[in-house]
Point group: C2
Chain length 203, copies 2
């Protein structure tokens, strides 16, 4: 059994499924704990209007293990927000693993956390996300990309496939399978499966 | 464009993905609004510990259109809670469409809302859910079951397939496809697809 701590980085306008798809799988995996961080403690409004409570503020996140950065419309102003990007860079640099779903990789790139890494992002917003970063090798056809201590997924639902692959990588395929059977989720285990790239003219 | 109102019935110990899978798809569908109801207004703790804010209390839910009842460990005490079941029956009887994900159908059945209907539930907890109700035709192999104004899905991730089918039923397959392309979700459109029934010895 692993003993891993996942810190979800919430911000106003995050995409709900970007967070709760991966969280569902990670939570049912033995040894994983999940905590929610926001710019301040308290309710944070998602892209969908629903509010999720951040139990902790970003500046309380010391010694991060795994961080999960979602996408959503809230990424647009944050990618231009120097104070946020500085905080994210500090947190991401200290973390053992940095993961993102959807346009969350745009934030990672804008914070400099993907420099010299391979990465992917949402396919509808690929042009936006891939405009950030220095020397990032953006992969336009990928369900997710795992490069050393960075895991980035394609849009929204792709985060669940990435989370299952991450669990398999950390805990073995049997443990990952238990998580997906419990949640009755059929995952794509091939990271190059990506019909949405073609739909959005990227393949 | 439809103009549909979805009321999510939150309770302590609800399963996060049961809610936010369907909500993600319904929210990106033009004309759908989502509101969250709890036993009282304020933060409601999920099965996974994360808290979601109920903006309204159950007794504020008058003239419900579509209700969405999730599963999760919180269903166990509620299925024995006469006051909750009475409230749920009042709300469900007034609603135009009653939907559930996972063990949420156990609550619907316990409230008498599935009497003389066909329905399904989570496959791991099928015995528990199907112990409730009178004259319910429980379908043990089904991703979801649609019977008149009742939609019930299998466990957790199955709620997303049901939501896509519900959107297709209400708005057409093109609209449903737009929702799944936006969220980069590959859905099962065959309601009889259910490998998890066999895994749990039900097929």
């Amino acid at each position: 059994m692993s003993d891993r701590r996942v810190a979800v980085i919430l911000f106003e306008g995050f995409e709900l499924l970007d967070v709760f798809g991966p969280v569902e799988l990670l939570h049912v995996t033995p040894g994983f704990t999940i905590d929610y961080y926001g710019p301040q403690r308290g309710p944070i409004a998602s892209s969908q209007g629903g509010q999720v409570v951040a139990e902790h503020a970003y500046d309380e996140l010391v010694d991060p293990d795994i961080i999960l950065v979602p996408g959503g419309y809230g990424t647009r102003p944050l990618a231009e927000d120097a104070e946020f990007l500085k905080q994210l860079k500090t947190i991401g640099t200290a973390a053992n693993l940095v993961t993102s779903v959807c346009t969350g990789s745009g934030l990672l790139a804008a914070a400099g956390l993907l420099d010299s890494y391979r990465a992917t992002s949402n396919k509808l917003a690929f042009g936006w996300a891939s405009s950030f970063g220095t020397d990032v090798e953006w992969v336009s056809t990928a369900r997710w990309v795992h490069d050393r201590d960075r895991w980035t997924s394609s849009g929204v639902a792709a985060g669940m496939d990435m989370a299952a692959a991450l669990i398999a990588d950390l805990c073995g395929t049997d443990v990952a399978r238990e998580a997906t059977v419990f949640t009755e989720l059929e995952v794509h285990s091939d990271s190059t499966w990506d019909p949405f790239a073609a739909i959005h003219g990227l393949a």
